[in-house]
């Protein structure tokens, strides 16, 4: 599903690589936590999988496609198979909940009929059935993140990338979002979630990939949030 082979990413003007010779494979339907300190390469990893950036070295295969060979003309079509959720939601403030979700279908040329069917469906699934005509600022943070998730999954992507989706939310709201992501994962979508939230990781007991300075230091089947990263790199007391 996702395969990285000796992938390194160097940004110009920075001698230390953001990712350093990372090799890993993520299978269909897996739920993967990507943990590590800020600057450890989690976001770079997600950007590379999205082909927002190209690796400096190594090869990346996503959904059977070699991203190095993907022409820029084909990138948009590749991205239609991926959903993305961010910490800051990234909703369009002047559009209603329905319009925000529908927008992502309109711009990839879906028919009006399809949109009229799919959007209420996905809003029901994320638990926003009654709030289709609200504007984003009328919603709580958790509800806004549900809209963002609805937008990410309305086109039924094979992979959902989530970059600290609970970073702005309180613990009980976060738990609700995690239940939703778990449900999405159960339906067969591969979910990759970058997070700092130790409680969530420990509780879910899913695959954990830990990055320290761009290198994979731990890849556990049913792991918890790491301990070594912080103590080793930052020297903080346990």
């Amino acid at each position: 599903m996702i395969l990285l082979d000796q992938v390194s990413k160097l940004y110009s003007g920075n001698a230390r690589p953001a990712l350093n010779s990372v090799s890993l494979e993520i299978l269909k339907g897996e739920f993967v936590f990507l943990v590590g300190a800020s600057g450890s390469g989690k976001s770079s990893f997600l950007r590379l999988v999205l082909k927002e950036e190209n690796p400096s070295k190594g090869r990346i295969h996503v959904l059977g496609q070699d991203l190095g060979r993907l022409t820029s003309r084909k990138v948009p079509y590749f991205r239609r198979n991926l959903g993305v959720v961010f910490q800051d939601f990234r909703l369009l403030p002047q559009k209603t909940v329905f319009a925000n979700v529908a927008f992502s279908l309109q711009v990839i040329g879906k028919s009006k009929g399809f949109i009229q069917e799919a959007v209420p469906d996905v809003l029901r699934m994320v638990g926003l059935a009654g709030k289709a005509s609200r504007l984003p600022h009328e919603l709580s943070g958790g509800e806004q993140q549900r809209v963002a998730i609805a937008r990410a999954i309305v086109n039924r992507p094979a992979i959902l990338l989530a970059d600290e989706p609970t970073g702005n939310l309180d613990p009980s709201t976060s738990a609700g979002i995690m239940t939703l992501l778990e449900r999405i994962s159960t339906s067969g979508t591969t979910v990759i979630m970058a997070t700092h939230d130790a409680g969530i990781v420990d509780q879910m007991q899913r695959r954990v990939i830990e990055l320290v300075s761009g290198q994979v230091v731990r890849d556990e089947r049913e792991g918890g949030y790491q301990t070594q990263g912080i103590t080793l790199t930052k020297g903080f007391p346990e």
């Binding site: 948009p76 990234r90 369009l92 403030p93 927008f103 711009v107 937008r151």
Partner: protein, 305 residues
């Protein structure tokens, strides 16, 4: 569905940016009007050259009793001298260049002089003897007058060999200067128009950067993202260039044909509506192509993946 969506995006962009769009319209309007004027001026020069060069002749003036210049020595050219000149004109070397020639006597020159300067007070003092007898030569190719001047001006009894085309050259160089001025102004204005369109499109894209980011994230195709912005630039430029085309047509109709036409009457050929009707679509096409190109380049930055 998609067409409607794109057009509503275009409408939003134009509304959000009204003042910039108006300035794009005005700048393209003025710059393309200058382009049109320059093209018309060039074709006007072409028409005038065609018209006047056909009528321009080479005059071989013979000496009169009062003339000292050239090969003259205050003596009227003799019949032999005139015959020698005519023989030269008929000789194979020159005959191939010459379309036709005719001789003008003192009396004919006097009549022509009186017609042309009827309202001039000197006309009363001039007598036929003052005016040169001459051969008026029409050349097949008016640019080859030098050969005629060289071979005839040394002959005895010839006062001067004069190419009338020389009288016209200052007029044409003045008109040429005017048309180059118009072209330079047009060029500068076009650069301004292109930069202004690019800036307008960047501004429009910046005000919609959230939408653009989401479009790219969910996999909207580059063409879908580009098209509204390019259309925005093209529509603004289309309005401006249509105005310019209208202005050019109006200038030809009311100024050139109306005002100049009635002042100059039939003395010279002027550009007509047929020229203007060729120039107008050229201006519109130029405006649209420039706008599409500069908007395309401007928006490209937002499409890098």
């Amino acid at each position: 569905m998609r067409f409607g969506l794109i057009m509503s995006e275009v409408g939003n962009g134009l509304r959000r940016n009204v003042s910039m769009v108006v300035s794009v319209i005005l700048v393209t309007f003025i710059s393309l009007t200058f382009v049109g004027a320059a093209i018309l001026l060039q074709s006007q020069i072409g028409e005038m050259k065609g018209y006047w060069y056909d009528r321009a002749q080479v005059a071989v003036y013979f000496c009169t009793e009062s003339s000292e210049i050239g090969n003259c020595d205050l003596a009227e050219a003799t019949e032999e001298q005139k015959a020698l000149v005519e023989a030269q004109l008929a000789s194979p070397a020159l005959a191939s260049l010459i379309d036709r020639y005719e001789f003008e006597t003192h009396e004919q020159a006097f009549q022509r002089y009186q017609e042309q300067f009827s309202d001039n007070e000197f006309a009363d003092f001039v007598t036929p003897e003052f005016l040169n007898e001459a051969y008026w030569v029409n050349l097949k190719d008016p640019t080859q007058s030098d050969a005629l001047v060289e071979s005839l001006s040394t002959l005895a009894g010839v006062e001067e060999v004069k190419d009338q085309r020389k009288y016209l050259d200052p007029i044409f160089s003045a008109l040429n200067a005017a048309s180059f001025t118009a072209i330079s102004i047009a060029g500068l204005m076009l650069i301004a128009a292109v930069l202004l369109i690019a800036t307008t499109i960047r501004l429009s894209a910046f005000s919609r950067r959230r939408e653009l980011g989401i479009m790219r994230l969910v996999g909207a195709s580059n063409r879908f993202i580009q098209t509204p912005f390019i259309l925005e630039g093209v529509i603004a430029a289309l309005i401006g260039s249509t105005l310019a085309a209208g202005a050019v047509l109006a200038i030809v109709r009311y100024f050139v044909q109306g005002y100049l036409g009635s002042t100059l009457e039939t003395t010279t050929a002027v550009v007509g509506m047929s020229d203007a009707l060729i120039v107008a679509p050229v201006l519109i096409a130029l405006g649209v192509v420039l706008a599409a190109a500069s908007a395309g380049v401007a928006i490209n930055r937002y499409l890098k993946v």
